[in-house]
Symmetry: D3
Subunit: 318 residues, 6 copies
């Protein structure tokens, strides 16, 4: 097998020291050199409420120092099977949403062309749209969305269509996301209208409200999600506000009453074997995270997802 990279040892420098990269991995510029590209996307210009997710990538990199190479349940490491590195932050424009979307798509198109699978640290949830514009060039992909919000509103503020609350609808409309192969897990919270989720439902999205999650249990959610997504290529988007804000207060639009981190870990682990072509962890907003736990949760979820991506990448490579 090709050589892979491993996190810097903590023998010479303790884990709180040394360069700030995802999981203490090397920082590289060439996407062709990696199987999986870890990226930051410090953009929160699609935020309709509290901004701050622009500082998410840095906080996630710092918190990722706590993550060692091996998963304690599988006893395996993603670095055994995939070349993984920190590809830095994607370019964008914090002021102009239109140009930001274009810059992001162009950057991820480059990653795709180079054969790198992206795992992105947001940023607000709008970033999933330009990423999918780059990744779903061959047709719509399945979507597993951990989230408190459906993100299928049509527009905000008098007709504006590109926000972190509308991107899933745009993705479906643009043919990037296959609604029949889309599952949303943990939806809850008050709604603007009684039929707030109708677009998703009429489009065929499978919505698992938090009440469904408690009713089905983790195993039931996993089973349902695997049924919905099936065998084709799929993207995993993990909005930390799906988790209860006692665990993740540092986010722009918290909704009380979510699942625990352990439940989230178990659900993600249950997705092993899906054909994941990319993923993101979004909506970590450090200015609202006084204890830093949101960033720690986000970094841990990134690692859980990285393990899936590494195996999926290896499986595709055969």
């Amino acid at each position: 097998m090709r050589e892979t990279w491993w996190p810097a040892s903590s023998s010479s420098l303790p884990r709180y020291a040394g360069p700030v990269s995802f999981f203490r991995l090397p920082m590289l510029a060439d996407p062709a050199a990696v199987d999986i590209a870890l990226l930051g996307l410090p953009y929160d210009g699609g935020t309709t409420n509290r901004a701050g997710a622009r500082h998410g990538p840095r906080a996630l990199r710092e918190a990722s120092m706590f993550i060692r190479p091996y998963h304690h349940v599988t006893r395996r490491s993603p670095y055994e099977v995939a070349r993984v590195a920190d590809l830095g932050d994607a370019p964008m424009n914090p002021i102009e949403v239109g140009q930001a979307l274009e810059l992001i798509t162009a950057h991820y198109a480059g990653l795709r062309a180079a054969g790198a699978v992206p795992l992105t640290a947001g940023g607000d949830h709008l970033i999933t749209l330009p990423i999918l514009r780059a990744l779903a060039q061959d047709g719509p992909v399945g979507l597993i969305q951990f989230d408190a919000h459906s993100d299928t509103n049509d527009s905000y503020f008098g007709g504006h269509r590109y926000t972190h609350g509308t991107h899933v609808r745009r993705g479906i409309e643009e043919g990037l996301i296959d609604p029949k192969r889309t599952v949303q897990i943990g939806i809850r919270g008050t709604r603007y209208a009684p039929d707030g989720n109708d677009f998703a439902e009429s489009a065929g999205v499978t919505t698992l409200y938090i009440e469904d999650v408690y009713r089905l249990g983790v195993a039931g959610v996993v089973e349902r999600a695997r049924q919905v997504v099936g065998q084709g290529p799929a993207y995993l988007t993990f909005d930390v506000d799906g988790i209860d804000p006692a665990f993740c207060p540092g986010t722009g639009t918290p909704e009380v009453g979510g699942y625990t981190v352990h439940e989230a870990q178990a659900m993600v682990r249950g997705l092993a074997g899906l054909d994941l072509i990319g993923a993101d962890v979004v909506e970590v907003a450090p200015p609202f995270d006084p204890s830093g736990n949101t960033a720690l949760v986000g970094a841990t979820m990134m690692f859980e997802i990285l393990c899936l991506l590494a195996d999926a990448r290896a499986a595709r490579r055969g």
Copy 2:
């Protein structure tokens, strides 16, 4: 049906902007114009430990900006069936407990006379007593109390009888609360004496310790509470310290080991159909709430309770 008010749209002003009122509802002065009066009661002069609940109403109003009009489980809105507005803060005196109690009772007597059902944002838990003095003029009412503490001590600090740890006992002694129709949910934490809760028990109060809550489960608690309270008029008091302080650290007397917010939501939803004549959410103390989650939980619970009150009010009106 009569015209109702709805929260200000977030189309023109994002939810973090605009006037600070409960749920972005109009601010009115006339209680006769509303079915349900949302009030702040910024009083914490009955606090025996850490003060700060005086700042609760403001924090709850701010956090209530996150709450949209429709409940995601019922898909209904309280504003469909009731006229609801923000009636401002009730008058009180932060220094003299005696006068504070009098001012509060007089204010709520006015609300009652005008036909408005009050949902109050405290303040410390002592406020429930003067509110009940105004509301329970026709005889004792049932009480559903979510709380870590029984609040049935006799006195503090050498005989002082009016504190946030004695008000339930006072309410029973004064004939405002019917102990046989009273249920306390989530009681826990160390006690001053082995028989600390004897007054409650000998008076006939149904105490559900946190161990009972875990044993019975949410459905069992709901069933038991509905049995105890029965069909007559009842008041709901929600002390956020009933919830585990991981979710609600911003409170004066936290006790570890409580229920989750989702469990609290489910228990409150289970009380639908009771004849609620008023309610409060108390003990949110913002100076001890660095992440703001306690206020968010409090505001969400206010909305859950508002849904019950609106239906109860509509049912009484026929």
Copy 3:
């Protein structure tokens, strides 16, 4: 004289209680009813670094509760000579900078048409541009700018011209600001280029670097500023980052080594008698203000400026 409004008394409700308006003044919708309109402008879409100033208006309103009606040096109150009220938050769009600028200008044009002098709580510093587009319709106005930054860069992020670091240049280019009648007080901090401030200097702006402030002293700064601005109409813009971040950490682009709050107060007081037609206090970013002192400073500076505006308004009315 016409009736004026006064802050709500703290006899019935302590100052931490009651509705959240600027200085506890009434909230009105009609600009024609006031001499001076206090407004919030919760917009930070022009921010090139740390966002958060969108939450400034709310924090400034809350902190303004600490401000009583009379100035302790003049022993006079602005409410003696002017009708002052809280006109709420101006409309804008948090996502689209272009539309935001248009909405703001339209709103302030309405205020101007109604004869109301605006004192605005930002928001980031970009807001000064659309405000001046509305106010300076009769020709360029003088500008007194308290700030660490000249805000005369040309563009950011590949040519974008509308940010909180470019608005003064735009204002000069658009003929809204008279550079000969413009003074900037407290400029400091590292620069992108050795000639970073050349546009300002070549345009004729008077730049008082922080070293100039210490060399001239408060009295010297005041004298110089009055010379520069002269007798014509002028606008005062107060960026809290002009003050040292020990006093005002809660801002997006702090620069160490600024003046103290007392020096700022003395400088503002020294501007009494200028023909001020409007003013703003900007760049208060509450997510970075753990002690709340930045908001308190901002609210106090708003009051100092309000005193000047009220006298100027009265003087113009004769």
Copy 4:
């Protein structure tokens, strides 16, 4: 000379460890054993705005761990000339202001009878009144008051006369404070009325506004204060809100634009030789002090004042 006590050495236990007492001094119960009694008075029931000073004594004790035995300017230690110990917290009632005042006065009368000079860590500023009722039994004393507020209002909230904003007026009315021998240093901030300080002025109090402080300079203030207070017995009360809130944000009623800590230190040092019979440091409110600097300033000022009290006590003993 009699044996004195010295702070616990940091050789065996670092300064952050060990029992929590003022300056790491012994904790004693018998006031007759000491020359100077350090006490906490964890009472904030007289607070008209933000409570929290009840937690002041604990925070001041903790911060006092940073204070070593010798003053770096005088190179002398108060423990060389006086027996100083921590006498614990004075009894009070957090709920009933009337009883609180009685309990405090009784406790300090006991201290006075035992010959102990009290240096008190508040608590809110109302505590100065019951202390003076105990100490000024032989006639009115002089008062040196470091403060942003005159505290000579007549009443609050509909006639209530005992608050932290009225105690100096009460003290003058009750003949405890000699207004002719009273100086207030640092008064500033907006006022409820143009003549807000008229009681103080008409009674003969010397008010040094913050503008006077800057005009006179530290040496001038010291000279003026010494003239006013003269040779008779005097009490020193140090409200931390006299200092600018950049240094002391953790207080209930901050007013921007105050003096620095170094100026405060120099002014206190300038009072050496006055016949001080007691002192307090008040209004440290830890819930509003995220960095802890307010407590550190308060503890340092306590030490500066302790040095004066020790010398005054020694001088009286001859």
Copy 5:
């Protein structure tokens, strides 16, 4: 029975006031006077990541003020059956790890000789090693370890063997801990190597990963732990990082996905009747605990454990 001590009443001084000792108990110096010695061990020199546990004992003492004398489930008090007091902080050296270990062992050997059972508030987890060197002089003891980490690494940073990640291994190697009678509860988090826990497993330690905890449930964990530990003398060490960091963020090496506080309480209660000869609560790091909940959890767990120790001590005394 011999006289015991009880916490200071809150009648004269509210619980937030008065001396800072564990559970408001008396502070004593003589270990022979007590059955159970509560101690602080403010040492974090064995920390490999974020320091701060040196401030744990003070925070735990402060938070222990919230704990009343009687357990709400058993309705009994440890003070009924055992003499319990605060013996202060153990001596150590914050700079030199070698001397620190020696000083600690010597101090606890003195406690053992005096017949006092120690319940220690750490400090980082390395402190368990020198404590066991003093307590396990008669042979290895059983160990119940609540923890996210096994702490059986061999060395860090190029061969250093004494850290808070190696002490359990050292304890087994030195014959202080009987691995066959050792159970670790809650182990989780990423690992340095796939076989990271091999030392523990090959030595015979029973490891209950967090997945095991969820699979077995609280009752199952308790049953398993009791089987493993059996009837002989045992030591209980409670690392707060075993609990999920939503409850306990204030710790040096947080691992997401842990058990709740209520589960921890239930597991500890299930250990009643074991022959416990000492215990500690470690890794509370206040600088990372903005809400203070970690300290509150720690203090509550100390009380739960104290109840076990008191009964075990009484049982041994017969």
Copy 6:
């Protein structure tokens, strides 16, 4: 001239984004490639009170993003005259002080051999000793020390000689520091003994107490410092606790009453032209820095010092 490096432009990535290096400079491994090496030294094992400076380098790197390339007074950039890069964190051992000192000295000896001038971000102040052991191999150097503490104690905790309070004494004793060419600026705060500073004084160190600083003024201090240090090689050590803790609360041993940041900037600027061979900024402790201002001040002072070092390096090169 040789090619130099410049900070990453903020055109493509805003300053809050991108890799975390000092001043956004490249990260290099080879000291021979640079004139000036920026390093982190995340070690706080010499701390006698509150630890946390181990996190200083990361916080300083992050805050350094605010620093642009050109100095606003000189209008020059250090990158014009010197090759400057981020050389990463120096190796050390957080647990064993002896080995830590050896590793540090070895690393800096390598820098010196390669011809790189080090500017170090601490870490606690002990790090200056091992750095000087590497740099002062040709004889004692002059020392300019900005600090609240003399750091010339002999030992702590029973004879331990290597702490952040003893390193200057060690440096003099070891012949690394020339006391006659040493000036300490800002010394203040209480002392362990009346003669606490006698070692420094008897050795010939020039101590400028804070009172001297205010008496002499900035210009006087600069003149005195230049006289003392003279023309030979000198090292500049900047402990942020020399600055008042209102500006720099995030430090282990704060002392109130220090100079302002602007005064510190002016004093450092006054040292231009000295033959500086290295420098450090120490004692930034992020866990005690809630607003982040301490890190911002530290990063700004690093830049001020970098300007001096670059010129000195260029002058030596001729």
